[in-house]
């Protein structure tokens, strides 16, 4: 990408304010995907401590079973639920499900693909992620 192409760049791509909830969902999907990949790699490393025997496992568990560790895990739960629910919505959309039917457009040309079904899907993903985070907090701090 050269500067004379006048691309918006990462700042434009990651700006969620201009194009409604669909663009917010796009950004959250990316961020949660990257976050989950980072967590997955860390989780594989974390669980490999079992090869160090009980002492090694307990040592590592002590590091993660802290208030900060629980808050971090709550964020992971939120990312996981949002990425899953929104992912299913996006996958259905990619197959042409729920994107409306072609027809003669009338002014003011509200796009049929940006319909309530997909908006409900996005809001559901956010609400379910929040609910899962609260449940996660209750489970981890309730014990």
């Amino acid at each position: 990408m050269t500067s004379d192409e006048h691309k918006e760049g990462i700042r434009g791509m990651a700006n969620p304010r201009r194009y409604g909830i669909e663009r917010v969902a796009y950004l959250l999907m990316r961020l949660s995907g990257l976050g989950l990949l980072a967590y997955f790699v860390a989780h594989i490393y974390e669980t490999s401590n079992i090869l160090r025997g009980q002492v090694g496992w307990d040592e590592f568990l002590e590091l993660t079973q802290t208030t900060e560790g629980h808050i971090f895990l709550t964020v992971v739960i939120g990312m996981c639920v949002f990425h899953t629910v929104n992912g299913v919505r996006v996958m259905l959309g990619h197959g042409g499900v729920g994107v409306g039917k072609p027809g003669r457009p009338d002014y003011p040309y509200d796009p049929a693909s940006q319909n309530y079904r997909h908006k409900i899907g996005i809001y559901s993903a956010i609400v379910l992620a929040a609910a899962a985070m609260m449940y996660g907090l209750a489970v981890m701090f309730g014990e």
Binding site: G33, V41, S48, L51, M140
Partner: protein, 114 residues
């Protein structure tokens, strides 16, 4: 490989992983979160062959899905023949590396090499 084949794998791994990760998380919750993370409990999980197979499947599915997702993001951020090749091979190598590293944990724990 055609991009459509790669993306079909991307969707397929996502759906399969959702089902298996749900089982994995439910196992933590049914046993009690703190108890399920105790050394003996985790060891018993790894030694139970169906569960170990499930962990191996989750490892493969999420590694394929995750690193392909990373490849997609990276090739959209910057372009160039060399860069895109490096990203594709880099993500593939990282994916294989993670699968090998995770499999080592699962297999060694399962057969009792601790």
């Amino acid at each position: 490989m055609r991009e459509s084949t790669i993306m079909k794998i991307h969707y397929g791994t996502a759906l399969a992983a959702v089902a298996l990760v749900a089982v994995h998380i439910l196992m933590r919750l049914t046993q009690g979160f703190a108890e399920s993370l105790e050394y003996e409990s985790v060891l018993a999980n790894y030694k139970f062959i169906p569960y170990a197979i499930m962990l191996e499947l989750i490892l493969i599915l999420l590694a394929v899905h995750g690193f392909n997702g990373l490849r997609v993001i990276l090739i959209e951020l910057k372009q160039g023949k060399m860069y895109e090749k490096a990203v594709s091979y880099g993500c593939f190598v990282a994916m294989i590396g993670l699968i090998v590293y995770g499999s080592r944990t699962i297999i060694m724990t399962n057969i009792g090499m601790i």
